[in-house]
């Protein structure tokens, strides 16, 4: 292999030809997405399926979902560096990588999603301190920088790069200060995960999303934090499983996987309890106060009650119970099913909060509208997924992402 010197010591990787073939496959999706992005940027958002009723659609759902699922990075970092759960060192690099991809991917999508991309810096220059979105803009960009800082030492640990004295010492020093970055990341993440929920909870003109809360924060602020930290570790587990399946190697030890599942399960129990309470209070308190009923919040198949019951039950209570039972976690097939359900529930939550909120006709003489994303939205979203695969593939091949890989496969 011509790139053998760049591959971490003592691990096996596929041939360069096979790897390039894989990158070409990923490249097809990236090329399609780049074409979509070019069309959107050159001709405007009129080329998408969005309209005046659905200003937010697939892109915002995608952003919210990946930011929630990427929460494994900050929360695992918090547990590893602040609470000193040492076992998590075996998976911490992967969580950082997943977090970096989720956040950088979300930011790429946001550039496409705003109507005036050249004005994206206005959020800093003319901030409205009362807007939850301002807080999101600040924290997401700052936290993405933190993730870059957390990812850089991993790059510097590449066998060839690390031979350089400066890079070697830089990586070492980055590691020393990592608890500081983990702390900053935790602070920023708690706020922006919450503010993403707050963005919907403050919409007092939209009964589907509006919630009361504590001080300036609607309940959705806290629910979004809880759901993100509950699903983040599950998503990391699923990514790890996918990488194991694609590489044919064991990358993380069982104990660490089960610990991640346990953390996810405990947090999901906490979240789903409060989510059910919130739904009950919304249906019996908020809605009647606004002259609406629970049934009026749902419509047809696209916005039916089945989404709520799936989110709360099949993708909420069921995985929560599964993940807190040690015997279930021992059976890895079931553990992964539970992790998948957990992540699916959070994606449904972000979808309904984004799209169903806009679809519900608040004016009594108005009608429900439906939204379907078009190719421009799908291609660019898939491009981000492909970008994730690309960076993950390169990182896996050339960087020591999994500290135990050598030991587990010897």
């Amino acid at each position: 292999m011509i790139d053998k010197a760049w591959i971490p010591e003592g691990v096996q990787r596929c041939s360069i030809g096979k790897f390039l073939l894989w990158l070409t496959f990923i490249g097809v999706f990236i090329a399609w997405g780049l074409y979509g992005a070019f069309v959107v940027l050159s001709q405007g958002i009129g080329t998408t399926g969005l309209d005046n009723y659905f200003g937010f659609g697939l892109w915002i759902t995608f952003d919210l979902a990946v930011i929630a699922l990427g929460a494994g990075a900050f929360f695992t970092g918090f547990l590893r560096y602040i609470l000193r759960i040492d076992q998590l060192k075996n998976i911490i690099n992967l969580t950082v990588l997943v977090g970096f991809l989720c956040y950088s991917g979300a930011m790429i999508v946001l550039v496409l999603d705003i109507g005036q991309p050249l004005r994206c810096w206005f959020g800093y220059w003319h901030p409205n301190v009362h807007s939850m979105l301002t807080e999101v803009i600040f924290c997401i960009t700052c936290y993405c920088t933190v993730l870059v800082i957390e990812y850089v030492p991993l790059i510097l640990e590449n066998r060839m790069i690390n031979k350089n004295r400066f890079c070697h010492h830089l990586a070492h020093n980055f590691h020393i200060y990592m608890p500081l970055f983990a702390g900053i990341g935790t602070f920023l993440s708690f706020f922006h995960q919450g503010s993403l929920g707050g963005m919907y909870g403050v919409l007092f003109g939209r009964p589907y999303a509006f919630r009361e809360g504590f001080f300036i924060w609607p309940w959705t602020f806290f629910l979004f934090i809880a759901s993100a930290i509950a699903s983040g570790p599950s998503f990391t587990l699923l990514v790890n499983k996918l990488m194991e399946a694609l590489s044919g190697k064991k990358l993380v030890d069982d104990f660490t996987k089960e610990l991640m599942a346990k953390i996810s399960g405990m947090l999901l129990c906490f979240y789903i309890f409060w989510k059910i309470m919130d739904t009950w209070a919304w249906a019996n308190g908020m809605l009647p106060k606004e002259g609406l009923t629970f049934d009026q919040m749902f419509y047809g198949l696209a916005y039916g009650k089945w989404l709520l019951w799936t989110e709360l039950g099949i993708c909420g209570v069921v995985p929560a119970i599964m993940l807190i039972i040690p015997a279930v976690r021992k059976i890895h097939g079931l553990m992964y099913i539970a992790a998948f359900l957990n992540c699916s529930g959070i994606v449904i939550n972000r979808f309904v909060q984004t799209v169903q909120t806009s679809a519900h006709p608040v004016l009594p003489f108005d009608a429900w509208q439906t939204y379907a994303p078009n190719w421009a939205e799908w291609s660019t979203s898939l491009m981000i997924v492909a970008y994730g695969f690309l960076v993950m593939s390169l990182s896996y091949r050339y960087l020591p992402v999994f500290p135990k890989e050598k030991e587990l496969n010897s």
Partner: protein, 255 residues
């Protein structure tokens, strides 16, 4: 988000019993406010209609069937749901009169304001505004055209407010105390049936003051707390009931 409390409150009262749904207000609005022709107007969710006429009906079969038409401009809410959410302060409600303004050169096009507004009064420029050759001569000089990628909405023809103040100054009158009729938005001026009235809701000398205090006057979605500056009136109870959401056991406001 705090905003200035003004002494003048520009507002509208629309008599739904007089509105025939002719759409003259919509046409006048689009012409006055330089709204470019939409490439494909068949998708009504993509068109720009700062003022949109909705059709309502009582849900009953003939011969009890009844319809009403409801012109919906921006409500210029006293507590605007859009104002709080804009991340870049592109929305403002600090000018005397309480008009909610949109700062086009500031807007980044995030569309959060559109998600916030329950009246669907906010619109997005999905395409570059292009007027067929020659039609650019019809543009209103004092109204800025908006670029692709920003949100926009009814401004109560704010340029006419500015013109009225200028006229008052030129005539040696106090521009902060305009007479009724000095400032009239294009939709109100175009209404052939006299269904639309405009003026200072705080001024007892203006007709809208009296109309907005009548028992048949109501505002859309009052329960949400948006405090609109647009009133409607109808003697028909079913019309007033559709102005807000009610549980089946609740009485219509004012009944």
């Amino acid at each position: 988000m705090e905003h200035k409390e003004s002494n003048i409150k520009w507002g509208m009262v629309i008599d739904l019993d007089k509105c025939t749904g002719c759409g003259a207000c919509m046409v006048a609005c689009e012409a006055e406010n330089n709204i470019a022709p939409t490439p494909d107007s068949s998708n009504k969710l993509r068109t720009l209609s700062w003022l949109l006429v909705y059709e309502m009906n009582n849900g009953k079969a003939y011969p009890e069937h009844d319809v009403a038409y409801l012109p919906r401009p921006c409500m210029q809410c006293g507590n605007p749901s859009c104002l709080h959410v804009c991340p870049v302060v592109a929305i403002d409600k600090n000018e005397e009169g309480g008009i909610v303004s949109q700062v086009y050169p500031r807007c980044i096009g995030c569309r959060y304001c559109m998600a916030a507004c329950p009246y669907h009064a906010r619109y997005f420029n999905w395409f570059d505004p292009i007027w067929p050759e020659g039609m650019e001569k019809t543009l209103t000089p004092n109204v800025s055209v908006r670029p692709r990628g920003v949100a926009e909405k009814c401004t109560f023809c704010h340029h006419k407010f500015a013109e009225a103040k200028e006229r008052a100054r030129a005539e040696g009158r106090d521009p902060s105390h305009l007479e009724e009729g000095d400032y009239i938005p294009a939709c109100v001026a175009a209404c052939p049936n006299g269904a639309m009235h405009f003026g200072d809701l705080n001024n007892p000398k203006h007709k809208v003051y009296e109309l907005s205090h009548k028992p048949e006057a109501f505002r859309l979605l009052e329960r949400l707390g948006t405090d609109p500056q647009v009133y409607y009136s109808s003697k028909r109870e079913w019309v007033r009931r559709q102005g807000d959401n009610y549980l089946t056991n609740e009485k219509t406001k004012g009944e």
